[in-house]
């Protein structure tokens, strides 16, 4: 069956996360349901999909990549339009492409970029409350900018990984980590070869403690050394987190086999 990839964005507020779970609606279940309706399959059959990675409950995406084998040949433009016509308004396909047989949304990825948005106002903004973490405490940008440098490079991120992980290798490489302030928001950006379960949320929770003056500037270095999740800061709420981009050796959404919204 031909292989397709789609780039999607979603407001994760109403979902238990990207991946299918028994306890509520997921992004993946919506995509698979839409594909099943498109392909006119009976309700007990499905078209399995592979996402580039999971996102947690409430986490958003601007560039999640999903891949699947479809039981017919379909133009990327028709695929995009059909899916967008069926999907609920909080999920949108941004691009669709026919890809080679060996393209795999997760294993072929070479890096991922995430953003985390923190609202530093004293009371939350009604219009961004679902799209940013509310952190109403005086928070020092320079302290955070200095602290975050420690994670750039290759490190064992045990301290920043949920103890619920099933991964054994907790070493990851961070290519880029930055924080800017666009009043009244702190905007964190992380690019790496991979991220562990809750890793960005724990990093942000810890860096905010450094910004608040509750922890020293070299706290991240210390935590990377001691490899103990219990010593790191809290897991920041997922509503501030966005999966922004997934990079592949060869961009599946470039060239003549791709269609963009």
């Amino acid at each position: 069956m031909p292989n397709y990839a789609i780039k999607i964005e979603y407001d994760g507020s109403q979902y238990v996360g990207y991946q299918v779970q028994p306890n509520g609606p997921s992004i993946q279940s919506q995509i698979e349901k839409a594909l099943r309706l498109m392909a006119k399959l009976p309700s007990d059959e499905k078209i399995p999909t592979i996402g580039s990675g999971r996102t947690d409950s409430g986490v958003h995406a601007k560039g999640q990549v999903v891949q699947f084998n479809y039981p017919a040949t379909i133009e990327p433009k028709s695929l995009l339009k059909a899916l967008n016509s069926i999907l609920p308004d909080d999920i949108r396909v941004l691009a669709a492409a026919a890809v080679s047989e060996d393209f795999h949304a997760r294993y072929s990825a070479i890096s991922k970029t995430y953003r985390f948005i923190v609202n530093n106002e004293s009371f939350p903004d009604p219009f961004t409350r679902l799209y940013s973490l509310h952190h109403p405490y005086p928070c020092d940008l320079e302290r955070m900018q200095q602290a975050i440098q420690a994670i750039i490079g290759t490190h064992d991120f045990t301290s920043f990984c949920s103890t619920k992980t099933d991964k054994i290798d907790l070493v990851r490489t961070i290519y880029h980590a930055s924080i800017i302030y666009q009043e009244p928001y702190f905007i964190f950006e992380f690019k790496g070869n991979g991220f562990l379960y809750n890793m960005i949320r724990i990093l942000v929770g810890t860096i905010l403690q450094i910004g608040d003056g509750l922890k020293p500037i070299d706290e991240l270095e210390h935590l990377l050394e001691i490899k103990d999740r219990n010593q790191a800061g809290p897991t920041a709420n997922g509503n501030g987190l966005y999966m922004i981009e997934v990079e592949y050796e060869w961009d599946p959404f470039s060239g003549a086999n791709a269609y963009h919204l």
Copy 2:
């Protein structure tokens, strides 16, 4: 009892509208409940409030003004902070002020400004779907800009008023009416001495038909003349509408008696 005014913003998505109604939660009921809790009144008593005007179900505000007599003297700063601590995250007090006895949020208003945001993309944006009307048809900005001029000035707006109105005088004065395009959004702005029930939503619904080429450019002039609601366009969905500003002869939120967030 001393008289207070607050300026509030809200995401109207989860409400039946500004005004208290039997069929669901309203902005007004949330404000009155918060005031009751602040004043430690029993649950069968209340502090009645007066809004500058109603907003419909799903309609948002960036500058609604609400006024009430409070059973004690309270600093505007304390009033703002106490209310924001109690109110749900989709309503926020932007300013609070002690006002003179004769200030009335509705009768003292001399003009109101509304904005209406229309997303002209082919599929709705997951992140703005609750905050803009989705209109995916090719729509001519210049036609709409030319057409909207007809409503500026003093007119009988019978054609643009819900037949459910209880008002007798349907003459209103429009000081400003404009449309700009900020890709991919059309942004309508209206300022007038008052607006009838559903007036902006019917105006936008009709102007979009003109932009789409379904109605001639002079359609608004024609409708103002014939005074017949049934001949005007559809009532555009309220999720694109924002109450932006209420103006008073004397700004209650200026001066030493006011506190801003």
